[in-house]
């Protein structure tokens, strides 16, 4: 591969504290040993079952958590987790929430304000944009959340599962623009437990199981190893 590596994880592990009894806390290693490379322009799929450590891995990539062991080498890229409806306050209007949420996602206040018209248009909220979001249906909030988060343009976009949100029409529209973004030159990391989604959207994949990398490389190879593993397991345990 001639593409430059922009991020490299070597034997990364991370733990949380878990309360045991009244006063004791115990370390629980959500990630034990994760290694892979991320190359510029990649669409990297992270596959694994529930509880495999996928969300923790995204938090490490997003800089929310630091690895407790191992090394993470970032060659100067800025990464952000696509978070919907982050920091929404029910009593504020859609417009105010858009500014607040955009700023929390890392956009400068001026940038968000400049993009407010786009956000209003994309969310199809019309004059509801200036109403308190406590009057919104859950579908409307989802539309607003997506429209704000979609303005974010980091070097690497980290996506957790959800691609389409809102009511059925908007779901189609939002997943279409997400797919477009994923297929573009943009570097993304997509976490999913659906092999189908990753097969469709990603050129490379990492399979993690119980906090460890089991395979990484071309999507088809990783997924066939993953599916083989799943079918070998007794079906009763999901």
């Amino acid at each position: 591969m001639s593409k430059p590596s922009i991020l490299s994880l070597q034997h990364v592990g991370a733990f949380y504290w878990r309360q045991v009894g009244y006063l004791r806390k115990e370390q629980f290693w959500a990630l034990k040993d994760i290694s892979f490379e991320l190359y510029h322009g990649d669409s990297l799929g992270v596959i694994g079952r529930n509880g495999a450590g996928k969300s923790t891995l995204l938090r490490i990539l997003a800089g929310i958590l630091h690895p407790d062991r191992g090394v993470l080498i970032n060659h100067g890229v800025q990464m952000a987790l696509l978070s919907l409806q982050i920091g929404f306050v029910p009593y504020l209007t859609g417009r105010q929430n858009a500014v607040l949420s955009g700023m929390l996602l890392g956009l400068h206040k001026k940038e968000v304000i400049k993009k407010l018209d786009d956000i209003q248009a994309f969310s199809e909220l019309g004059e509801f944009f200036d109403q308190p979001i406590s009057t919104y249906s859950s579908g409307m909030s989802a539309r607003l959340g997506f429209s704000v988060a979609f303005q974010l343009d980091p070097d690497v976009l980290l996506i957790d599962e959800v691609l389409g949100v809102g009511d059925s029409d908007f779901r189609r529209k939002s997943s279409a623009v997400m797919h477009e973004k994923i297929r573009s030159e943009k570097t993304i990391v997509l976490v999913s437990h659906s092999a189908e989604t990753i097969r469709r959207l990603c050129n490379r994949a990492v399979w993690i199981e119980e906090g460890q990398t089991r395979a990484h490389g071309d999507t088809s190879e990783v997924l066939s190893a993953y599916e083989e593993y799943l079918s070998a397991k007794p079906q009763s345990r999901e």
Binding site: I64, H66, I86, V89, Y91, M103, L105, K109
Partner: protein, 255 residues
């Protein structure tokens, strides 16, 4: 120190929280004013009427004590849950955690500003006009603020590590409340206990407010300087603690 982006975020979030709070209830921000007034009524009835402990000018005397106390108590007790309350946020984006208590501190500062303004108007209309002593008011407000800033950051930084401390903080506040001379004056307590009474920074702060606003004399400058130094010292320590443990908080407040 925080970048310009995060400073903007603190300001916008503060504004948003104030707006939301005013919109949440029917009479909105009137509650900020009603809160100290209702406390004052209780204390007036109990200490002024029932126990007959009223000093001259008991209403303004009480009001000054309660308004300055409520600022202190509200901010610290909000600070204790600031980082816990931001758990949803900090799992989704990286934020310098100090932002969370700073928003709380700023929100309560604005509310106090409104209440202080109304209280001054009341005092002027009750015949306690502006005197030369008002020149000392900015210094007093600053040292009071520094004390609140320090203790709030400290409580916010430590509580996530030991969540039960939150309850201890509430009880400590309750104890300090009774020892700060809110419904009595320091001069009325037995002389041999006075040195201990004045070890409490809030006792000095409240007395300074009364000196300036009621008696129109200069406050005890050295007491104010000590409180300001104490507050600054704690602020720096707590801020350092918050930044040093910045990446630990998302782990501590998992659920």
């Amino acid at each position: 120190m925080l970048s310009a982006h995060y400073r903007d975020l603190i300001l916008y979030k503060t504004q948003a929280d104030l707006r939301a709070e005013a919109a949440k209830t029917y009479i909105g921000f009137l509650w900020w004013v009603l809160d100290p007034l209702m406390f004052m009524m209780i204390f007036y009835v109990v200490f002024g009427l029932l126990l007959k402990r009223a000093t001259p000018d008991f209403v303004p005397f009480l009001l000054i004590g309660l308004v300055s106390w409520r600022w202190f108590q509200n901010t610290i007790s909000h600070g204790a849950t600031a980082i816990l309350g931001g758990r949803g946020l900090m799992q989704q984006v990286y934020l310098p955690k100090a932002i969370l208590p700073l928003v709380v501190i700023l929100t309560d500062l604005v509310k106090f500003g409104v209440v202080l303004g109304l209280m001054l108007i009341y005092l002027w209309s009750a015949g306690f006009g502006v005197g030369w002593s008002y020149l000392a008011l900015p210094a007093l407000l600053l040292s009071h603020f520094l004390l609140i800033l320090g203790l709030t950051l400290l409580v916010a930084a430590i509580v996530p590590f030991v969540p039960d401390l939150r309850f201890l903080v509430e009880h400590l506040l309750q104890i300090v409340f009774y020892m700060s001379g809110i419904f009595f004056s320091g001069a009325t307590i037995p002389e041999r206990y006075q040195p201990y009474f004045y070890l409490n920074p809030m006792a000095n702060i409240i007395e300074a407010y009364r000196d300036i606003l009621l008696h129109r004399t200069w406050p005890n400058w050295s007491a104010l300087a000590i409180v300001a130094a104490l507050g600054s010292g704690i602020s720096l320590l707590a801020y350092e603690f918050l930044t040093r443990n910045d990446h630990l908080y998302p782990k501590l407040v998992q659920r």
